[in-house]
């Protein structure tokens, strides 16, 4: 069965690049949903089965850390791995994300190989 992924980033450019990179991993990926901020992501999660969330940290309205906190405080969504994608440095907000329960993070700029390497394990593990 294929994994369903939710990509959350306020940049349509990054969402498009991630769609391309994810399709290129060769992993059994079904639908890739997109959201422009945390609130849109929660709306999508309410409608679709999602196996993995890839989220930017710095977004308007509801940022990635607020989204992460919402997911980890929900019985329904707590088990979904959330990988943060960020330009943020090593401390502060990344550390906060890890503390909140992020499964990992990828720093921008990223290569296709870095995304593949980081997500391969999660995609295998969450494969329904």
């Amino acid at each position: 069965m294929e994994s369903e992924i939710l990509v959350v980033d306020d940049s349509a450019a990054i969402r498009k690049i991630l769609q391309r990179v994810l399709r290129g991993t060769g992993m059994p990926i079904g639908a890739i949903y997109e959201a422009g901020d945390g609130q849109e992501a929660l709306d999508t999660l309410g409608r679709q089965r999602i196996d993995l969330v890839l989220s930017d940290i710095n977004m308007p309205k509801m940022d990635g850390l607020q989204l992460l906190a919402s997911l980890k405080s929900s019985d329904k969504w707590r088990a979904i791995p959330v990988v943060m994608i960020t330009t943020e440095g090593g401390e502060s907000r990344v550390a906060e994300a890890v503390k909140l329960g992020a499964a990992g993070y990828v720093r921008k700029p990223f290569t296709a190989d870095q995304i593949k390497e980081k997500l391969m394990g999660f995609l295998e593990a969450v494969r329904p």
Partner: protein
């Protein structure tokens, strides 16, 4: 240049090179560095801004021609862009986020934690852009396929350090 200005130039060079090589599979050739001590004259093209705040505060900016903005977007998104549109502006915003984000990360061990705002991109003709209270920019220019990209940073210590402060808005004025 002061030690801090040299540090900023080196950070801009490293970050720009990293973003171009990883996201565009391209090389931006460093042309030179300069200090701008006054508001630039009215110009045409694409200008982006992103705020930085912490114990030091200021902004980062990218300046390029519409042609370069379209080419960069085409390379990033693997699509053709004959003219500047929303997707091009979005790609330039993300380029700004990544390049200035890299500079920020590089400078944080020296300056303490810095927050980044959401980037703003302006495209037009005969406009002037000015950051509130920003008088001196440290900049570097790069050449890519015959087009020029300028990357600029302005940072100054804040009167009352707020290590975790994040800029709420965009303290920039654009005059057309």
């Amino acid at each position: 240049m002061t030690e801090m200005e040299n540090l900023i130039v080196e950070s801009i060079k490293q970050s720009t090179a990293a973003v171009f090589s990883t996201m565009l599979d391209a090389e931006a050739v460093f042309e030179g560095a300069a200090i701008e001590k006054r508001t630039p004259e009215a110009s045409d093209g694409v200008v982006s801004f992103i705020g930085m705040a912490g114990a030091w505060a200021g902004a980062g900016s990218l300046v390029c021609s519409p042609v370069m903005a379209c080419r960069v977007s085409a390379r990033m998104l693997m699509a053709e862009f004959p003219a500047v549109d929303d997707e091009v502006l979005d790609a330039v915003a993300e380029l700004t986020n990544m390049i200035i984000g890299g500079v920020k990360t590089d400078l944080e061990p020296r300056l303490g934690p810095l927050g980044l705002s959401i980037p703003t991109v302006v495209y037009g003709k005969n406009f002037k852009a000015k950051g509130a209270g920003i008088d001196e920019w440290v900049g570097a220019t790069f050449d890519w396929e015959g087009e020029r990209l300028a990357v600029k940073v302005c940072l100054a210590p804040t009167a009352a350090p707020q290590a975790k402060a994040r800029p709420a808005g965009h303290p920039y004025a654009v005059e057309v």
